[in-house]
Amino acid sequence: MVNFDVACKVDLEQDQATVLVAEDEVLIRLMIADALRSEGLTVIEASSGDEALSVLQSALPIQLLVTDIRMASELDGLALARAARVARPGLKLIVASSQQAGDEATNLADAFFTKPYALSALVERVKSFLKEAQHGGQ
């Protein structure tokens, strides 16, 4: 497995909660990232499923992934969610779609959001999951 203890002097605040946001619409991604950063969270932005997978396969500490299902990349959000479950078993996972959640999305995700995003509800859910992860020793 990946060694997540790789020492990084210049780190994305190792002790701070880090959220990976995978969204291929730049203005929506910016809106989500800004909202989460204004809560003091560290946010990594991925513009596609492929970019998000690159981040998950790196040594970066990530506590939570927020992903859109429909993305114009080789990996869509569901494929990314499947890969994330393998690469990072302890990761909290929020999936969003403009359509109703299918069975697989429901099974994979810890929470499902319908687009357009209810931003404040999303931020609150992210914060509560991060609190759980911290208490669970993540």
Partner: protein
């Protein structure tokens, strides 16, 4: 860390970072944020144009890679910015080393926030991140294969 983003942007300015390699982009973007800039990230020129066409989003500097997939490379994006956003500076960085140096120079322009760490550390971090991904890819591939065969995923 500064708490108020709006205050921060007013103080330091907003940089649009355009870079198609996510592991480079996120480190450069974080470094500039740690220097006090508000940073908007774009993965390629087409995303950058969506941001730049929004006149209500103030951008002081476009910091772009040269070679990128999509309808425009960094040179074409730079020309677009000069024609359509004349007050916006453009920094073209064609390699990781030049990108780190350019980010460091931007940090030096900040009067209120000291440079958070040495640019060499930024360069080292990008190198480490890019290296850490390679073995992980093989691990993930084999884990996915085992998962699809019904075997243990660990």
């Amino acid at each position: 860390m500064v708490d108020n983003d709006a205050e921060l942007a007013e103080l330091a300015g907003t940089v649009l970072v355009v870079e198609d390699e996510v592991l480079i982009r996120l480190v450069i973007a974080q470094y500039l944020r740690d220097c006090g800039y508000r940073v908007i990230e774009a993965a390629h020129a087409d995303e950058a144009l969506l941001v730049l066409r929004k006149s209500e989003i103030e951008i002081d500097v476009v910091f772009t890679d040269v070679e990128m997939p999509g309808s425009m490379d960094g040179f074409a994006l730079s020309q677009w910015v000069r024609s359509n956003r004349p007050g916006t500076d453009v920094i073209l960085a064609g390699s990781v080393g030049r990108a780190v140096q350019a980010a460091s120079d931007l940090c030096d322009q900040q009067n209120n926030v000291p440079k958070p760490y040495d640019p060499q550390n930024v360069h080292d971090r990008i190198r480490r991140l890019l290296a850490s991904r390679r073995p992980a890819k093989r691990d993930l591939q084999s884990a996915l294969e085992r998962a699809s065969l019904g075997g243990p995923v660990q």
